[in-house]
């Protein structure tokens, strides 16, 4: 059994930021990730981020990742890679499997869960055929593994993930022959959709994929128009020649470890579904467990980094590493930036949803 002050689970934008804050506060911190490299989704994000300078605006995601890694290295943070957290016992004990070969145990005074989110599925006929995959899976293949998963791609979903991954597929050399959106209106940011549009990618609103056809893998995709009740309109089927279907139907917070630990959860559709109830300090209903990033509600990497820092500051403060005043001061600065990221017509809903979660936490206390 290894002992540490803080264990951070997940070395994505939130987890890395959390670990850096803890280390800066003087805590012993171990950062755990199941992948061979830290950075989480940041290294798949090859586009430039929005925001203002303090949010790394205009910087590509993977460069932000590199920067965070550099800081983590300078702070000598102990990063356990290839380590899957397979269990969590009693709120402070982690069961970790390293390299899929070795069982390890870690006891931490505080645990910060930054496990991110997982892709939602859409179950149409033929969705199990090889060639049908999550949009994130395609993104992993092209940007991390540098392999094109297919040449003619139909993208399901026009939210930011769908349109960003479509653009990145074009950059990788594939063709995106259709972006199919069940809603009557497109979901993603206009600047993203505009990039695709001027590259000649057609959008099909009020459409869905009816079927992926093929013997051993996808050979064609049938799309169909939906009526106002979202029911397929017979006779509007179109068969498109394609070898790949990517599903970008939103993300769900990965709360499994929080549930294993027994954290209270609540359902917030606008943040992706069930999330652990947490307070302004990012602390869950279990005193020793904090959450940050997509596990606490699906938002963007910039928000995840701020939440990571927030959780790190408060976890450190709870270990006595900051005075109450200092804690308040640091927390306040981050909340100001978070408020900016959660402003405007796109951010407003998330801000309200977050407030709702936080109010639940105060009610249970």
């Amino acid at each position: 059994m290894v002992f540490t002050d803080v264990a951070v689970v997940g070395a994505g934008p939130a987890g890395l930021s959390a670990a850096i804050e803890c280390a800066e506060a003087g805590a012993n911190v171990i950062l755990i990730d199941e992948n061979t490299k830290p950075g989480g989704q940041l290294f798949k994000q090859i586009h430039k981020f929005f925001g203002s300078r303090e949010h790394h605006a205009g910087v590509r995601g993977f460069r932000i990742g590199e920067e965070l890694l550099l800081r983590a290295r300078k702070l000598d943070i102990d990063v356990w890679l290839n380590c899957e957290v397979c269990g969590i016992y009693g709120g402070t004990e982690l069961w970790i499997v390293k390299n899929r070969r070795e069982s390890r145990r870690l006891k931490a005074r505080k645990i910060i869960l930054a496990t991110g989110a997982t892709e939602n599925a859409v179950a149409f006929s033929g969705w199990t055929l090889p060639g049908v995959m999550g949009a994130g899976a395609a993104q992993t293949m092209i940007n991390l593994h540098r392999v094109i998963p297919g040449n003619r791609v139909v993208m399901i979903g026009s939210g930011n993930v769908g349109v960003i991954v479509s653009y990145q597929l074009l950059q990788a050399g594939a063709d995106v022959i259709a972006v199919v959106e069940a809603a009557p209106r497109l979901g993603g940011y206009g600047v993203h959709t505009a990039k695709l549009r001027r590259a000649g990618v057609p959008f099909f609103t009020s459409h869905t994929v009816l079927e992926a056809r093929g013997k051993e893998s996808v050979e064609s995709v049938v799309i169909v128009r939906l009526d106002e009740y979202w029911k397929p309109v017979a006779g509007t089927e179109k068969e498109l020649e394609a070898d790949t279907v990517c599903i970008a139907a939103g993300l769900t917070p990965l709360i499994e470890l929080a549930m294993l630990a027994g954290c209270e959860i609540c359902f917030i559709p606008s943040l992706g579904g069930h999330v652990p109830v947490h307070d302004r300090r990012m602390r869950t209903s279990i005193e020793s467990i904090y959450v940050a990033g997509d596990i606490a509600g699906v938002e963007e990497a910039s928000t995840a980094m701020e939440e990571g820092r927030l959780s790190g500051i408060h976890a450190s403060a709870s270990l006595g590493l900051y005075s109450a005043d200092k804690e308040e001061e640091l927390s306040h600065q981050i909340w100001e930036r978070l408020d900016v990221l959660r402003s405007g017509p796109f951010g407003e809903g998330r801000r309200k949803a977050k407030e709702k979660i936080i109010s639940m936490k105060s009610m249970t206390q």
Binding site: C86, R100, E211, M259, L260, H274
Partner: protein, 96 residues
């Protein structure tokens, strides 16, 4: 329509939409119940892909709001793990 009913929901255990709907018709209203009743979610991935799909089917069929459909019970391990990992020397993986 036959095609539709035959559509897979649980990829691991190959459980169809029809089987899920049957379970709901027989009174199952939670993810855990459907899992026990149909085996959807009992496979290698332990419902990590299909549980949200099933939640939506329950909501559609029963009118039960999604927030009342709690996630399946979480149990370790959160990934499949080899029994060997507990031996003191760790896994003894052979190459060929």
């Amino acid at each position: 329509m036959e095609n539709e009913q035959n559509r897979l929901i649980c990829r691991c255990e190959e459980i169809t939409l029809e089987e899920i709907i049957q379970a709901i018709d027989n009174g199952c209203t939670s993810l855990n119940e459907i899992k026990r009743y149909t085996r959807a979610g009992m496979g290698l991935c332990q419902s990590r892909v299909c549980s949200r799909l099933i939640a939506r089917i329950i909501a559609e069929k029963t009118g039960k709001p999604l927030d009342e459909i709690v996630p399946v019970t979480a149990r370790p391990p959160s990934r499949p793990v080899r029994i060997d990992i507990f031996s003191p020397r760790g896994c003894n993986v052979k190459n060929s």
